[in-house]
Symmetry: C2
């Protein structure tokens, strides 16, 4: 039997987190500040999150024994990544666990076609897109959208993986095969001016809280740098808040969500994708806000009131990728820079090893 959740979940309860990476680690630290114990379920031993958590269950995310052990400790479970197997959530729910964000948010986030359909229905605009399950359908979709267009696998893929440009419609079948011959979607190119993102939260009472927008810069598909609050027109901020509220309410969402946006030339925002979890472009909130995205997420899933989301300072967040982590002494010596390192053992190329938040003075 699992412990039964009552909300607000009292301190001293144990919160479960699926995933032991840096997001799980920072969630675990936020939960501990609020007096919770944390249990991590993660396939690898000695994960970054396990080293700051009271309990670690080492096992596959869909391992029934591991999930049972987690359910026995935790009335409430959340996760740090969107590719949680649906069966894991089903099992946990079957064992009486409250899983947040819920199954709908996961299902939508795991399938790029379902995601874009959902977004458009919720009143959150996206680029034009076409799903395709065969090489022929891919060619037809490329013709319909016009080349160049972007082909992405419907499932999995993150940080720019699982996607390729289709330069000419005739290339579409080959690109389809190169992506593994799996179902894909094709997207019209977004002729955007900037990449922005909005981090927002919805509580168990339906309250919505939205952080200021971040402006993001990617390299090779990986986030390198965010600046927040982004300098935007008031109407742009209002658009982002409307989009966040529509998405959160349509998903009957509980927790923090990351919404990646394209800012188009006329000022219109399109949703690129949503991540049903805390988000790399929200790390600036750790040093720029009173309640950061990690505590906000824990507050939401634990049924506590949401905290304030206004910025206290402007922040430039830089990811430390791979061996860049070796530059920590430089950042440690900058008075305006806060260092956040994840305790990963091996600095593989491109791996997110840490980040720094540079405070750029008052707003």
């Amino acid at each position: 039997m699992s412990a039964t959740a009552r909300f607000p979940l009292p301190p001293g309860s144990t919160l479960g987190i699926l995933g032991g990476g840096q997001l799980g680690r920072m969630l675990a630290q936020a939960a501990a500040r609020l007096g919770f114990d944390v249990a991590i379920l993660e396939p690898e031993a000695d994960s970054p999150a396990a080293r700051v958590a009271a309990h670690c269950i080492v096992g596959a995310y869909d391992d029934p024994k591991a999930l049972k052990a987690l359910a026995e400790l935790c009335p409430v479970v959340t996760y740090e990544f969107e590719n949680v197997p649906a069966v894991a959530v089903e099992r946990l729910v079957g064992l009486g666990v409250e899983v947040a964000p819920g199954a709908l948010a996961l299902a939508v986030a795991q399938d790029r076609a379902a995601e874009k359909r959902f977004l458009n229905e919720a009143g959150a605009p996206t680029v034009a897109f076409e799903p395709a399950d065969t090489p022929e359908a891919a060619a037809a979709a490329a013709l319909k959208l016009g080349a160049p267009c972007l082909m992405k696998t419907r499932r999995e893929g993150y940080d720019g993986k699982g996607q390729r440009w289709v330069e000419h419609a005739a290339d579409a079948p080959a690109v389809f095969e190169a992506l593994g011959g799996r179902p894909v979607i094709l997207e019209a190119p977004a002729d955007f001016v900037r990449e922005l993102s909005v981090i927002a939260a919805r509580g168990r009472d339906g309250a919505v809280a939205v952080y200021p927008l971040a402006e993001n810069h990617h390299e090779k598909g990986v986030l390198r740098r965010s600046v927040a609050p982004a300098r935007v027109a008031p109407e742009t901020a209002a658009q982002a808040e409307r989009i966040a509220a529509r998405v959160l309410n349509a998903l009957d969402y509980v927790g923090v969500i990351g919404i990646e946006l394209f800012e188009m030339a006329g000022g219109k925002l399109l949703v690129n994708e949503i991540a049903p979890r805390v988000h790399n472009t929200g790390h600036w909130t750790q040093d720029g806000c009173e309640v950061d995205q990690f505590e906000q997420h824990i507050r939401a899933v634990a049924g506590w009131p949401l905290g304030p989301t206004h910025a206290r300072a402007q922040v430039e967040m830089l990811n430390l990728l791979g061996e860049e982590v070796e530059t920590w002494p430089k950042y440690a010596a900058e008075p305006e820079t806060r260092v956040h390192l994840y305790g990963k053992r091996e600095a593989k190329p491109g791996r997110k090893m840490g980040h720094v938040n540079r405070l750029r003075g008052p707003l």
Copy 2:
């Protein structure tokens, strides 16, 4: 063999902490943010700090096996309380471990007579005092200082324990026996206007960084409330900075120190006592400063540069004692209040269960 410390200690190293209470817990969390693993040595299993640390060694602080196990993991060890047995530090140093703050700071902080002598020699004024090892000496001391005066055991005693008022010099022998017949000191009463404290740090390079003063309010010898930055005259702040620098330099100190002060009617500051560790009156720095006292302490002992100490906001810190922790929903619902809970299992009367930092707007 222990790992050999090289400074600055690189992330990925394991830092040892003697003591598994709330101060150890908050130190462990700060260390993890900087990418360190933490090992706690603590006699009780399931301590607040152990639940957020990578390693926990359960054992007495002077247990040679436990200390050896700690030394094998940790090139650098610190502590959360001043009553660390001297033999524990000697053993760790003998095993090649860098212990900070060092043995001198501990020796001074463990003996109220040595402490006051040291302070006066360092140019940090205190009330008049007299040590006494016998009932007769206690009576003579009370006559010399004048009654009423305060008798305190030379060793141990914190949060108002181990001390009593001597109303008349003739009562001194009885009070001496009531305190256990152990060596004591008698102190002239401090006719103070306010209780203040200063939290300061000294790095391995000798750099000193001082936080703004806090104004403190005690009840029954236990801290109830601090407000910081305290509203003080510039000369008072300058006095506090001079005292902190003198004390830190005279101890060749590494780490954060808490210095409790009496503000006298004319504005002069007297040192009440020093604590060679992070301090309850410095908890406001978690939400009032960019680098809090916990990260500052880790930076110092790890040989990193010290961080900035200016205030970003005025903060009122309230301790949650015993069953007061049950009022957490009230504080969780206040937008301006940050909640910090320690994960202690049992709310014994007067026990420090958590604290809240109320942000009282910009400076």
